[in-house]
Protein backbone atom coordinates (compact mmCIF):
# COMPACT_ATOMS: atom_id res chain seq x y z
CA UNK A 1 0.00 0.00 0.00
CA UNK A 2 1.19 3.51 -0.75
CA UNK A 3 1.17 6.30 1.81
CA UNK A 4 -1.99 7.59 0.20
CA UNK A 5 -3.61 4.15 0.39
CA UNK A 6 -2.73 3.85 4.07
CA UNK A 7 -4.04 7.33 4.78
CA UNK A 8 -7.31 6.52 3.06
CA UNK A 9 -7.55 3.21 4.94
CA UNK A 10 -7.16 5.01 8.27
CA UNK A 11 -9.71 7.65 7.26
CA UNK A 12 -12.17 4.93 6.23
CA UNK A 13 -11.79 3.25 9.61
CA UNK A 14 -12.26 6.49 11.53
CA UNK A 15 -15.27 7.39 9.40
CA UNK A 16 -16.90 4.08 10.29
CA UNK A 17 -16.19 4.60 13.98
CA UNK A 18 -17.33 8.23 13.89
CA UNK A 19 -20.16 8.20 11.34
CA UNK A 20 -21.37 11.67 12.36
CA UNK A 21 -18.04 13.39 11.65
CA UNK A 22 -17.06 15.19 8.46
CA UNK A 23 -13.59 13.90 7.58
CA UNK A 24 -13.17 16.29 4.65
CA UNK A 25 -11.30 19.02 6.48
CA UNK A 26 -9.00 16.83 8.55
CA UNK A 27 -5.60 18.48 9.16
CA UNK A 28 -2.96 15.78 8.82
CA UNK A 29 -0.58 17.45 11.23
CA UNK A 30 -2.99 18.23 14.08
CA UNK A 31 -3.82 15.68 16.78
CA UNK A 32 -6.85 13.63 15.78
CA UNK A 33 -8.39 14.11 19.21
CA UNK A 34 -8.32 17.90 18.77
CA UNK A 35 -10.33 17.64 15.57
CA UNK A 36 -12.67 14.77 16.22
CA UNK A 37 -14.81 13.53 19.09
CA UNK A 38 -12.47 10.60 19.56
CA UNK A 39 -12.37 9.00 22.99
CA UNK A 40 -10.40 6.08 24.36
CA UNK A 41 -12.98 3.50 23.30
CA UNK A 42 -12.95 4.89 19.75
CA UNK A 43 -9.18 4.73 19.77
CA UNK A 44 -9.35 1.05 20.69
CA UNK A 45 -11.80 0.60 17.82
CA UNK A 46 -9.19 1.95 15.41
CA UNK A 47 -6.63 -0.53 16.74
CA UNK A 48 -9.16 -3.37 16.43
CA UNK A 49 -10.11 -2.47 12.87
CA UNK A 50 -6.46 -2.33 11.81
CA UNK A 51 -6.11 -5.82 13.26
CA UNK A 52 -9.24 -7.15 11.58
CA UNK A 53 -8.79 -5.55 8.18
CA UNK A 54 -5.01 -5.59 7.71
CA UNK A 55 -3.68 -7.99 10.38
CA UNK A 56 -1.68 -5.07 11.75
CA UNK A 57 -0.91 -5.05 15.47
CA UNK A 58 -0.43 -1.79 17.33
CA UNK A 59 1.02 -2.59 20.76
CA UNK A 60 -0.02 -0.36 23.62
CA UNK A 61 3.44 1.19 23.90
CA UNK A 62 2.98 2.56 20.36
CA UNK A 63 -0.43 4.14 20.85
CA UNK A 64 1.13 7.61 20.97
CA UNK A 65 2.26 7.09 17.36
CA UNK A 66 -1.39 7.40 16.33
CA UNK A 67 -1.55 11.01 17.46
CA UNK A 68 -2.04 12.70 14.09
CA UNK A 69 -3.06 11.29 10.72
CA UNK A 70 0.45 11.99 9.45
CA UNK A 71 2.17 10.22 12.36
CA UNK A 72 -0.27 7.33 12.05
CA UNK A 73 0.56 6.84 8.38
CA UNK A 74 4.29 7.08 9.07
CA UNK A 75 3.98 4.50 11.83
CA UNK A 76 1.85 2.12 9.78
CA UNK A 77 3.82 2.41 6.52
CA UNK A 78 6.44 -0.28 7.30
CA UNK A 79 3.67 -2.56 8.57
CA UNK A 80 1.39 -2.06 5.58
CA UNK A 81 3.53 -1.22 2.55
CA UNK A 82 3.79 -4.87 1.51
CA UNK A 83 0.02 -5.38 1.60
Amino acid sequence: MTKEDISQAVIDIIQEILPDEDMGGLDQEKPLRDQLELDSMDFLDIVMELRKRYSVEVPEKDYMELNTLQSTVQYLQPKMESL
Binding site: P19, D20, E37, M41, D42, L44, D45, K52
Partner: protein
Protein backbone atom coordinates in the same frame (compact mmCIF):
# COMPACT_ATOMS: atom_id res chain seq x y z
CA UNK B 1 -42.52 13.52 52.16
CA UNK B 2 -43.41 10.23 53.83
CA UNK B 3 -43.37 6.49 53.32
CA UNK B 4 -47.05 6.70 52.41
CA UNK B 5 -46.60 9.54 49.90
CA UNK B 6 -49.03 9.34 47.03
CA UNK B 7 -47.25 8.59 43.76
CA UNK B 8 -48.62 9.74 40.43
CA UNK B 9 -47.80 9.21 36.78
CA UNK B 10 -47.10 12.49 34.99
CA UNK B 11 -45.49 11.36 31.75
CA UNK B 12 -45.34 8.32 29.47
CA UNK B 13 -42.87 7.57 26.69
CA UNK B 14 -43.01 4.31 24.82
CA UNK B 15 -42.22 2.33 21.74
CA UNK B 16 -44.30 -0.73 20.98
CA UNK B 17 -44.44 -2.89 17.86
CA UNK B 18 -47.69 -1.13 16.92
CA UNK B 19 -46.97 2.43 18.04
CA UNK B 20 -44.19 4.82 19.01
CA UNK B 21 -46.25 7.02 21.31
CA UNK B 22 -49.11 6.46 23.74
CA UNK B 23 -51.64 7.85 21.27
CA UNK B 24 -50.41 5.65 18.39
CA UNK B 25 -50.31 2.60 20.66
CA UNK B 26 -53.80 3.25 22.01
CA UNK B 27 -55.16 3.78 18.50
CA UNK B 28 -53.76 0.40 17.45
CA UNK B 29 -55.25 -1.32 20.51
CA UNK B 30 -58.70 0.11 19.83
CA UNK B 31 -58.56 -0.76 16.15
CA UNK B 32 -57.22 -4.31 16.21
CA UNK B 33 -53.85 -3.40 14.70
CA UNK B 34 -51.17 -6.00 15.40
CA UNK B 35 -47.47 -5.17 15.51
CA UNK B 36 -46.23 -8.69 14.89
CA UNK B 37 -44.30 -9.40 11.71
CA UNK B 38 -41.98 -12.07 10.33
CA UNK B 39 -38.25 -11.58 10.85
CA UNK B 40 -35.15 -13.57 10.06
CA UNK B 41 -33.08 -14.67 13.00
CA UNK B 42 -29.71 -16.38 13.14
CA UNK B 43 -29.82 -20.18 12.70
CA UNK B 44 -33.65 -20.29 12.75
CA UNK B 45 -34.73 -18.78 9.42
CA UNK B 46 -37.95 -16.91 10.09
CA UNK B 47 -39.95 -16.35 13.27
CA UNK B 48 -42.86 -14.10 14.18
CA UNK B 49 -41.75 -11.17 16.33
CA UNK B 50 -42.93 -7.83 17.64
CA UNK B 51 -40.63 -5.23 16.04
CA UNK B 52 -40.41 -1.55 16.97
CA UNK B 53 -39.90 1.11 14.31
CA UNK B 54 -39.15 4.23 16.35
CA UNK B 55 -36.60 6.76 15.08
CA UNK B 56 -33.49 5.73 16.95
CA UNK B 57 -31.67 8.86 15.80
CA UNK B 58 -34.20 11.22 17.38
CA UNK B 59 -32.20 11.44 20.61
CA UNK B 60 -28.88 9.79 19.67
CA UNK B 61 -26.32 10.35 16.96
CA UNK B 62 -24.98 7.50 14.85
CA UNK B 63 -21.90 7.01 17.01
CA UNK B 64 -23.97 6.68 20.16
CA UNK B 65 -26.26 4.12 18.55
CA UNK B 66 -23.26 2.18 17.25
CA UNK B 67 -21.55 2.12 20.63
CA UNK B 68 -24.55 1.26 22.77
CA UNK B 69 -27.15 -1.47 22.75
CA UNK B 70 -30.60 -1.78 21.25
CA UNK B 71 -32.02 -1.84 24.77
CA UNK B 72 -30.12 1.37 25.47
CA UNK B 73 -31.54 3.05 22.36
CA UNK B 74 -35.08 1.95 23.19
CA UNK B 75 -34.66 3.23 26.76
CA UNK B 76 -33.22 6.56 25.63
CA UNK B 77 -36.06 7.10 23.18
CA UNK B 78 -38.72 6.26 25.79
CA UNK B 79 -37.09 8.31 28.55
CA UNK B 80 -36.78 11.44 26.41
CA UNK B 81 -40.34 11.06 25.12
CA UNK B 82 -41.59 10.66 28.70
CA UNK B 83 -39.81 13.78 29.94
CA UNK B 84 -41.17 15.78 27.02
CA UNK B 85 -44.64 14.42 27.67
CA UNK B 86 -44.38 15.39 31.35
CA UNK B 87 -43.22 18.90 30.49
CA UNK B 88 -40.54 18.47 33.09
CA UNK B 89 -37.30 20.45 33.33
CA UNK B 90 -34.87 18.09 35.05
CA UNK B 91 -32.78 21.02 36.21
CA UNK B 92 -35.61 22.14 38.49
CA UNK B 93 -35.45 19.21 40.89
CA UNK B 94 -31.78 18.91 39.88
CA UNK B 95 -30.43 16.05 37.83
CA UNK B 96 -28.98 14.44 40.96
CA UNK B 97 -32.55 14.12 42.28
CA UNK B 98 -33.70 12.03 39.32
CA UNK B 99 -33.53 8.23 39.27
CA UNK B 100 -33.76 5.77 36.39
CA UNK B 101 -35.18 2.31 37.13
CA UNK B 102 -35.82 -0.07 34.26
CA UNK B 103 -37.07 -3.62 34.43
CA UNK B 104 -35.31 -6.19 32.28
CA UNK B 105 -36.03 -9.84 31.65
CA UNK B 106 -32.40 -10.29 30.69
CA UNK B 107 -29.66 -8.12 29.32
CA UNK B 108 -26.47 -8.98 27.48
CA UNK B 109 -27.74 -12.04 25.66
CA UNK B 110 -27.94 -10.19 22.35
CA UNK B 111 -24.51 -8.61 22.61
CA UNK B 112 -22.84 -11.83 23.75
CA UNK B 113 -24.39 -13.89 20.97
CA UNK B 114 -23.28 -11.34 18.39
CA UNK B 115 -19.73 -11.24 19.70
CA UNK B 116 -19.42 -15.04 19.90
CA UNK B 117 -20.62 -15.17 16.29
CA UNK B 118 -18.15 -12.47 15.25
CA UNK B 119 -15.33 -14.25 17.03
CA UNK B 120 -16.12 -17.37 15.02
CA UNK B 121 -15.31 -15.38 11.87
CA UNK B 122 -11.76 -14.93 13.25
CA UNK B 123 -11.02 -18.50 14.27
CA UNK B 124 -12.14 -17.86 17.86
CA UNK B 125 -8.96 -15.88 18.53
CA UNK B 126 -9.96 -13.72 21.51
CA UNK B 127 -7.76 -10.83 20.43
CA UNK B 128 -10.69 -10.04 18.12
CA UNK B 129 -13.19 -9.90 21.03
CA UNK B 130 -14.48 -6.36 21.34
CA UNK B 131 -13.65 -4.02 24.20
CA UNK B 132 -17.29 -2.91 23.97
CA UNK B 133 -18.49 -6.25 25.34
CA UNK B 134 -18.42 -5.42 29.03
CA UNK B 135 -20.03 -1.96 28.94
CA UNK B 136 -22.68 -3.29 26.59
CA UNK B 137 -23.52 -6.30 28.73
CA UNK B 138 -23.39 -5.03 32.29
CA UNK B 139 -26.83 -5.44 33.82
CA UNK B 140 -27.33 -1.69 34.31
CA UNK B 141 -26.63 -0.91 30.64
CA UNK B 142 -30.08 0.28 29.49
CA UNK B 143 -30.67 2.54 32.50
CA UNK B 144 -27.04 3.66 32.47
CA UNK B 145 -27.28 4.68 28.82
CA UNK B 146 -30.27 6.86 29.76
CA UNK B 147 -28.24 8.65 32.43
CA UNK B 148 -25.38 9.24 29.99
CA UNK B 149 -27.73 10.55 27.34
CA UNK B 150 -29.75 12.82 29.64
CA UNK B 151 -26.96 13.81 32.05
CA UNK B 152 -28.89 12.40 35.00
CA UNK B 153 -26.61 11.99 38.00
CA UNK B 154 -29.04 10.45 40.48
CA UNK B 155 -29.30 6.70 41.06
CA UNK B 156 -29.93 4.22 38.26
CA UNK B 157 -30.24 0.49 37.90
CA UNK B 158 -31.99 -2.23 35.99
CA UNK B 159 -34.24 -4.61 37.82
CA UNK B 160 -33.79 -8.18 36.67
CA UNK B 161 -37.19 -9.76 37.21
CA UNK B 162 -37.84 -11.98 34.19
CA UNK B 163 -41.13 -11.07 32.57
CA UNK B 164 -42.50 -9.49 35.74
CA UNK B 165 -39.92 -6.74 35.35
CA UNK B 166 -41.94 -3.93 33.76
CA UNK B 167 -44.14 -3.64 36.83
CA UNK B 168 -41.09 -3.91 39.07
CA UNK B 169 -39.53 -0.83 37.46
CA UNK B 170 -42.60 1.15 38.48
CA UNK B 171 -42.69 -0.35 41.96
CA UNK B 172 -39.03 0.42 42.56
CA UNK B 173 -39.47 3.98 41.31
CA UNK B 174 -42.42 4.53 43.66
CA UNK B 175 -40.46 3.13 46.58
CA UNK B 176 -37.47 5.41 45.92
CA UNK B 177 -39.80 8.42 45.78
CA UNK B 178 -41.39 7.41 49.09
CA UNK B 179 -37.98 7.00 50.66
CA UNK B 180 -37.22 10.56 49.62
CA UNK B 181 -34.04 9.53 47.80
CA UNK B 182 -35.21 11.16 44.58
CA UNK B 183 -37.81 13.66 43.40
CA UNK B 184 -38.47 12.23 39.94
CA UNK B 185 -38.38 8.62 38.79
CA UNK B 186 -37.99 7.47 35.20
CA UNK B 187 -39.39 4.00 35.67
CA UNK B 188 -40.58 1.17 33.46
CA UNK B 189 -39.18 -1.67 31.42
CA UNK B 190 -37.30 -2.49 28.24
CA UNK B 191 -36.74 -5.44 25.90
CA UNK B 192 -34.33 -6.04 23.01
CA UNK B 193 -34.99 -9.78 23.08
CA UNK B 194 -35.92 -10.24 19.41
CA UNK B 195 -32.25 -9.70 18.51
CA UNK B 196 -31.25 -12.89 20.32
CA UNK B 197 -31.70 -16.21 18.51
CA UNK B 198 -31.21 -17.99 21.83
CA UNK B 199 -34.39 -16.63 23.37
CA UNK B 200 -36.44 -17.85 20.41
CA UNK B 201 -34.57 -21.17 20.33
CA UNK B 202 -35.03 -21.76 24.05
CA UNK B 203 -38.78 -21.17 23.82
CA UNK B 204 -38.84 -23.50 20.80
CA UNK B 205 -37.01 -26.24 22.68
CA UNK B 206 -39.47 -25.76 25.51
CA UNK B 207 -42.39 -26.17 23.08
CA UNK B 208 -43.45 -22.61 23.81
CA UNK B 209 -42.62 -20.66 20.62
CA UNK B 210 -45.63 -19.48 18.59
CA UNK B 211 -45.88 -20.42 14.93
CA UNK B 212 -48.50 -19.22 12.48
CA UNK B 213 -48.55 -18.57 8.73
CA UNK B 214 -49.92 -15.12 9.45
CA UNK B 215 -47.63 -13.37 11.96
CA UNK B 216 -50.46 -11.05 13.05
CA UNK B 217 -52.37 -14.16 14.20
CA UNK B 218 -49.45 -15.82 15.99
CA UNK B 219 -49.97 -14.26 19.41
CA UNK B 220 -53.31 -15.67 20.59
CA UNK B 221 -53.58 -15.91 24.37
CA UNK B 222 -56.65 -17.84 25.60
CA UNK B 223 -57.48 -19.18 22.13
CA UNK B 224 -57.92 -22.94 21.88
CA UNK B 225 -55.32 -23.11 19.09
CA UNK B 226 -52.63 -20.99 20.72
CA UNK B 227 -49.20 -22.56 20.44
CA UNK B 228 -46.79 -20.34 22.31
CA UNK B 229 -45.09 -17.00 22.76
CA UNK B 230 -44.31 -14.31 20.17
CA UNK B 231 -41.16 -12.56 21.36
CA UNK B 232 -41.23 -8.77 21.08
CA UNK B 233 -39.00 -5.79 21.69
CA UNK B 234 -40.19 -2.54 23.17
CA UNK B 235 -39.96 -0.13 26.02
CA UNK B 236 -42.06 2.07 28.24
CA UNK B 237 -40.83 4.72 30.66
CA UNK B 238 -43.11 6.52 33.09
CA UNK B 239 -42.41 9.76 34.89
CA UNK B 240 -43.36 9.22 38.53
CA UNK B 241 -43.57 12.02 41.07
CA UNK B 242 -44.96 12.54 44.53
CA UNK B 243 -48.43 13.98 44.23
CA UNK B 244 -47.56 17.22 46.00
CA UNK B 245 -44.65 17.84 43.63
CA UNK B 246 -46.82 17.16 40.60
CA UNK B 247 -49.52 19.50 41.88
CA UNK B 248 -46.96 22.20 42.68
CA UNK B 249 -45.87 22.35 39.06
CA UNK B 250 -49.43 21.91 37.76
CA UNK B 251 -48.52 18.70 35.98
CA UNK B 252 -50.87 16.60 33.90
CA UNK B 253 -51.68 13.49 35.97
CA UNK B 254 -52.40 10.24 34.13
CA UNK B 255 -53.17 8.25 37.25
CA UNK B 256 -52.07 7.30 40.71
CA UNK B 257 -50.33 4.14 41.87
CA UNK B 258 -52.91 2.72 44.26
CA UNK B 259 -51.22 -0.51 45.25
CA UNK B 260 -48.74 -3.14 44.22
CA UNK B 261 -47.27 -6.45 45.27
CA UNK B 262 -44.69 -8.92 44.11
CA UNK B 263 -43.94 -12.36 45.42
CA UNK B 264 -42.29 -15.67 44.57
CA UNK B 265 -43.80 -19.04 43.63
CA UNK B 266 -40.98 -21.00 45.23
CA UNK B 267 -42.16 -23.99 43.22
CA UNK B 268 -40.70 -24.32 39.70
CA UNK B 269 -38.19 -22.83 37.25
CA UNK B 270 -40.74 -22.26 34.49
CA UNK B 271 -44.22 -23.45 35.47
CA UNK B 272 -46.36 -20.69 36.98
CA UNK B 273 -48.20 -21.16 40.24
CA UNK B 274 -51.82 -19.93 40.28
CA UNK B 275 -52.01 -20.04 44.06
CA UNK B 276 -49.08 -17.64 44.39
CA UNK B 277 -50.41 -15.47 41.56
CA UNK B 278 -53.72 -15.17 43.39
CA UNK B 279 -51.89 -14.34 46.62
CA UNK B 280 -50.01 -11.59 44.80
CA UNK B 281 -53.21 -10.11 43.32
CA UNK B 282 -54.91 -10.21 46.74
CA UNK B 283 -51.96 -8.51 48.41
CA UNK B 284 -51.99 -5.70 45.85
CA UNK B 285 -55.75 -5.26 46.36
CA UNK B 286 -55.31 -5.20 50.13
CA UNK B 287 -52.59 -2.56 49.93
CA UNK B 288 -54.80 -0.50 47.63
CA UNK B 289 -57.66 -0.85 50.08
CA UNK B 290 -59.80 -2.32 47.31
CA UNK B 291 -62.09 -5.29 46.78
CA UNK B 292 -62.03 -7.22 43.48
CA UNK B 293 -65.24 -5.46 42.46
CA UNK B 294 -63.42 -2.12 42.71
CA UNK B 295 -61.24 -3.09 39.73
CA UNK B 296 -62.62 -2.00 36.36
CA UNK B 297 -59.94 -3.50 34.10
CA UNK B 298 -57.75 -6.54 34.72
CA UNK B 299 -54.95 -6.61 32.15
CA UNK B 300 -53.72 -10.18 31.98
CA UNK B 301 -50.18 -11.41 31.61
CA UNK B 302 -51.39 -14.19 29.23
CA UNK B 303 -48.53 -15.05 26.87
CA UNK B 304 -50.17 -17.67 24.70
CA UNK B 305 -48.66 -20.77 26.29
CA UNK B 306 -51.03 -23.60 27.16
CA UNK B 307 -50.32 -23.93 30.85
CA UNK B 308 -49.40 -20.34 31.57
CA UNK B 309 -52.73 -19.04 30.30
CA UNK B 310 -54.72 -21.73 32.09
CA UNK B 311 -53.00 -21.07 35.40
CA UNK B 312 -53.49 -17.31 35.20
CA UNK B 313 -57.17 -17.81 34.37
CA UNK B 314 -57.50 -20.00 37.45
CA UNK B 315 -56.03 -17.23 39.59
CA UNK B 316 -58.21 -14.54 37.99
CA UNK B 317 -61.38 -16.63 38.22
CA UNK B 318 -60.72 -17.33 41.86
CA UNK B 319 -60.62 -13.62 42.62
CA UNK B 320 -62.76 -11.85 40.03
CA UNK B 321 -65.46 -14.38 39.16
CA UNK B 322 -67.77 -12.75 41.67
CA UNK B 323 -67.25 -9.27 40.27
CA UNK B 324 -69.79 -8.18 37.67
CA UNK B 325 -67.99 -4.96 36.85
CA UNK B 326 -64.40 -6.10 36.34
CA UNK B 327 -63.50 -6.42 32.65
CA UNK B 328 -60.54 -8.43 31.49
CA UNK B 329 -58.25 -7.99 28.47
CA UNK B 330 -54.86 -8.92 27.06
CA UNK B 331 -52.37 -6.74 25.21
CA UNK B 332 -49.87 -9.41 24.12
CA UNK B 333 -52.37 -10.54 21.50
CA UNK B 334 -51.37 -7.39 19.55
CA UNK B 335 -47.67 -7.02 20.22
CA UNK B 336 -46.42 -10.37 21.45
CA UNK B 337 -44.47 -10.70 24.65
CA UNK B 338 -42.27 -7.66 25.16
CA UNK B 339 -40.48 -9.43 28.01
CA UNK B 340 -38.96 -6.84 30.39
CA UNK B 341 -41.12 -4.12 28.85
CA UNK B 342 -44.34 -6.15 28.89
CA UNK B 343 -45.83 -5.06 32.21
CA UNK B 344 -45.02 -1.40 31.68
CA UNK B 345 -46.22 -1.31 28.07
CA UNK B 346 -49.43 -3.23 28.73
CA UNK B 347 -50.35 -0.94 31.61
CA UNK B 348 -49.70 2.09 29.41
CA UNK B 349 -51.97 0.71 26.71
CA UNK B 350 -54.83 0.72 29.19
CA UNK B 351 -54.24 4.04 30.95
CA UNK B 352 -56.14 6.06 28.29
CA UNK B 353 -59.23 4.15 29.49
CA UNK B 354 -59.41 6.68 32.32
CA UNK B 355 -60.35 9.31 29.76
CA UNK B 356 -61.96 7.40 26.86
CA UNK B 357 -63.75 4.76 29.05
CA UNK B 358 -63.03 1.96 26.55
CA UNK B 359 -61.59 -1.42 27.47
CA UNK B 360 -59.33 -2.41 24.60
CA UNK B 361 -60.20 -5.91 23.43
CA UNK B 362 -58.13 -9.06 23.23
CA UNK B 363 -57.63 -10.07 19.60
CA UNK B 364 -56.99 -13.42 17.93
CA UNK B 365 -59.46 -15.40 20.03
CA UNK B 366 -61.39 -17.36 17.40
CA UNK B 367 -62.34 -20.19 19.74
CA UNK B 368 -61.96 -19.61 23.44
CA UNK B 369 -60.17 -22.38 25.28
CA UNK B 370 -62.72 -23.68 27.83
CA UNK B 371 -59.91 -23.67 30.40
CA UNK B 372 -59.53 -19.93 29.79
CA UNK B 373 -63.16 -18.89 30.10
CA UNK B 374 -63.18 -15.62 32.01
CA UNK B 375 -66.22 -13.61 32.94
CA UNK B 376 -66.17 -10.26 31.12
CA UNK B 377 -63.19 -11.11 28.93
CA UNK B 378 -63.36 -8.44 26.22
CA UNK B 379 -62.85 -10.09 22.83
CA UNK B 380 -62.60 -8.60 19.37
CA UNK B 381 -64.21 -5.19 19.82
CA UNK B 382 -63.63 -2.47 22.43
CA UNK B 383 -66.06 -2.38 25.35
CA UNK B 384 -67.36 1.04 26.35
CA UNK B 385 -67.94 1.44 30.08
CA UNK B 386 -69.61 4.28 31.95
CA UNK B 387 -66.26 5.09 33.47
CA UNK B 388 -62.92 3.45 34.19
CA UNK B 389 -61.39 4.31 37.53
CA UNK B 390 -59.03 1.41 38.22
CA UNK B 391 -56.66 -0.87 36.30
CA UNK B 392 -54.97 -3.95 37.74
CA UNK B 393 -52.00 -5.14 35.72
CA UNK B 394 -50.54 -8.65 36.01
CA UNK B 395 -46.99 -9.50 35.04
CA UNK B 396 -45.37 -12.84 35.82
CA UNK B 397 -42.00 -14.39 35.07
CA UNK B 398 -39.73 -17.41 35.15
CA UNK B 399 -38.25 -18.71 38.37
CA UNK B 400 -41.65 -17.91 39.84
CA UNK B 401 -41.82 -14.12 40.13
CA UNK B 402 -45.22 -12.43 40.17
CA UNK B 403 -45.91 -8.70 40.08
CA UNK B 404 -49.20 -6.85 40.24
CA UNK B 405 -49.74 -3.11 40.10
CA UNK B 406 -53.00 -1.20 40.52
CA UNK B 407 -53.36 2.28 39.06
CA UNK B 408 -56.39 4.46 39.72
CA UNK B 409 -57.73 7.57 38.09
CA UNK B 410 -56.55 10.70 39.86
CA UNK B 411 -59.65 12.46 41.07
CA UNK B 412 -58.13 15.79 41.84
CA UNK B 413 -58.24 15.88 45.60
CA UNK B 414 -55.45 15.53 48.11
CA UNK B 415 -57.87 13.92 50.54
CA UNK B 416 -59.07 10.97 48.39
Amino acid sequence: MALDSRIVITGIGLTAPNGDSLSEFRNSLLNGISGVETIETRYMNTVPAGVCHFDQYKYQNKKQVRRGTRAGSISIYCANEAITDAGLDLDVPGRDRVGVFLGITEHGTVETENEVYNLGQYGNDVKFWTHHHNPRTVANNPAGEVTLNMKISGPHLCIGAACAAGNLGLIYGAQMLRLGEIDVALAGGVSESIHSFGIFASFKSQGALAVNEDPAKASRPFDKDRNGIVVAEGGCVYILERLEDALARDAKIYGEIAGYAYNSDASDFVLPNPTRQAQCIRLALKRAGMAPSDIDIVNTHGTGTKQGDEFECQAINEIFNGSETSYINNTKSYIGHAMGAAGALELAGNIPSFTDSYVHPTINIDNIDPECELKNLVIGTPKKLDHVDTILNNSFGMLGINSVIIVKRYKGSLET
